[in-house]
């Protein structure tokens, strides 16, 4: 029914869809806010109970410091500059490893996705390497590349590579063959085939790969820094543990969580921008 209605109003109300889009955006914002508030209820209760239990001496301060003392530890770390220094070094490691791994993943996932020959040639090896855990290769990397930055960055890159590789491959293979026929009929050249069809069609998968890869880059960072390092958030945690500075351990964990969350949100922002067309689609599905 809505079909014919839209047809009829086509000439009269050309921007009717934009109005409804605005309304929809407003409603979504509302829903978003109330969802955030609802999501906060449980953590707040937990924090309150935690603080109370600690203050009453029910839980040992050494095992589980109360939120206020963790906050205190934060303040101290920040004021001495130790926190920023460690955070900076960790970010650079994670960033470099991620860019190296994800970049290679995009490139090789693209190549293997494109050609059957390179798939047969390379994919089995990659799949084999994929299942090897970080902790198993870490000693080998140290042996080969020493305790320096290189082994750390490579370890992070190894983790970051696979999600992007696999998802880029899947994205390219998942392009609708019916749209390939369209591209043939419209005589797309090689470049247009890539920029107008393959890349946008694979984009949802690529972005998913990047999100997963970022998460794994942070994980790889922890392993790398705990393995042996004299700087970074991972080192900060290890060091604090030795001296039973449990508040600092918690502060480190919270920083990891926050950094992970922030980078994830950045990719989601990118997703919202690049996949605007899909967003619209979701809106319509909700209506039906």
């Amino acid at each position: 029914m809505s079909k014919t209605k839209a047809e009829i109003t086509a000439g009269i109300l050309p921007d009717s869809i934009h109005h409804s889009a605005e309304k929809e955006a407003f409603q979504r914002l509302n829903v978003g806010l109330s969802r955030i508030l609802k999501g906060l209820i449980l953590p707040l209760i937990i924090l309150a109970v935690w603080q109370a239990a600690g203050s009453l001496g029910i839980i040992s301060e050494n095992l589980l410091p109360v939120p206020t003392s963790i906050f205190q530890a934060f303040k101290e770390l920040a004021s001495t500059g130790e926190l920023w220094n460690n955070l900076q070094i960790s970010s650079i490691r994670a960033g470099a490893g991620f860019i190296l791994g994800a970049g290679l993943g995009l490139l090789l996932g693209g190549v293997v996705g494109f050609s059957n020959k390179s798939e047969e040639l390379m994919d089995p090896s990659f799949q084999m390497l994929r299942t090897i855990p970080h902790l198993a290769v870490a000693p080998l990397f140290i042996l080969w590349f020493g305790f320096g930055e290189l082994s750390k960055i490579l370890l992070i890159a190894k983790g970051a590579f696979f999600p992007v590789y696999v998802n880029t491959f899947l994205g390219i293979r998942g392009v609708d063959s019916k749209l390939f026929d369209v591209a043939r009929v419209l005589e797309f050249n090689k470049r247009k085939l890539f920029t107008k069809l393959i890349l946008p069609a694979a984009m949802p998968n690529i972005l998913l790969g990047i999100r997963l890869s970022l998460g794994i880059a942070w994980l790889g960072l922890v392993v790398a820094e705990m393995m042996g390092s004299s700087e970074g958030i991972g080192y900060m945690i290890m060091d604090a543990r030795q001296f039973s500075n449990t508040e600092v351990v918690f502060a480190g964990i919270i920083i990891f969580a926050a950094a992970g969350k922030i980078t994830d949100s950045l990719v989601r922002l990118l997703e919202a921008k690049l996949l605007k067309w899909r967003d619209h689609f979701k809106g319509e599905k909700g209506e039906i």
């Binding site: 086509a10 050309p14 419209l186 107008k196 946008p200 996949l275």
Partner: protein, 255 residues
């Protein structure tokens, strides 16, 4: 452009031994500016034939010539409208119409604007395919094909998925375009009324193996009135043909 199809046959090989003869010995001469409609039951090879004419399927026997030249492959001169609109979901209406051509080019921009007028989509340039009704999406697809100024426009049950009102509207849009540009049109349908309303020649296709069994000329002036007697007389003629071929079924009339 004229289209000439000589002894075209096509066999699909399914699995090891099984063969499906989709087309057998099709012979057809279509003149420049003709509007040919092809009607037949589903599975008789209509899509297979159109794909061959589009150059999308090149595994066949016989020969196909367009404008007197052998067909080499798919291209913009053989425009194709699929049953589903097949728009790029990540491009809005105007970018879908332009597709690989840059809208920043003044000439492309002007042509796109003119076409938006022709298919009556002004005001929806920026809408994404998911925001369009089926009819609007199909009109976008038609504009996309027309922008390339095809010599032949091949349409594979283009309005089959649309409701009756939208369908009539799009049939009229198509006739307007045809009268203006005199593009050779080959339209596949399973709707008898549609085949008479649009075509100046109706081809009846029969099944197993798929072949063209009859050609019925339609000499009525456009625009045609479905309720009037001459239209009904041709309708009857088509029905008799279909019945005598043992093809007629309730399903086909309903579409």
């Amino acid at each position: 452009m004229s289209v000439s199809i000589r002894s075209v046959s096509k066999t699909f090989i399914k699995g090891r031994q099984e063969e499906v003869k989709a087309l057998e010995n099709i012979n057809l001469e279509i003149k420049q500016g003709d509007f040919v409609t092809i009607i037949g039951p589903s599975g008789c090879g209509k899509s297979t034939l159109l794909k061959i004419l589009a150059g999308l399927d090149r595994q066949y026997e016989g020969s196909v010539q367009i404008g007197g030249r052998p067909l080499h492959g798919p291209g913009i001169k053989q425009g194709f409208i699929f049953q589903e609109h097949r728009l790029f979901p990540w491009l809005n209406v105007e970018k879908n119409i332009a597709a690989d051509l840059p809208l920043s080019d003044r000439e492309v921009r002007k042509k796109v604007d003119d076409l938006l007028e022709t298919v009556r989509l002004k005001g929806f340039e920026k809408a994404y395919p998911s925001e369009l009704s089926g009819g609007m999406a199909q009109r976008t697809a038609i504009a996309r094909a027309l922008l390339r100024e095809p010599d032949v426009l091949l349409l594979d049950e283009p309005f089959g998925a649309l409701d009756a009102f939208t369908r009539t509207h799009l049939q009229d849009v198509l006739l307007t375009i045809w009268e203006k540009k005199r593009t050779t049109m080959i339209l596949v349908t399973h709707d008898i009324d549609e085949s008479i309303y649009l075509g100046n020649r109706i081809l009846i296709m029969t099944q197993r193996p798929g072949t063209i069994s009859r050609s019925i000329p339609v000499d009525l002036p456009y625009p045609r009135k479905k309720s009037e007697l001459p239209f009904q007389q041709i309708r009857q003629k088509v029905m008799i043909e279909l019945e005598s071929a043992g093809l007629f079924s309730e399903k086909m009339v309903k579409g």
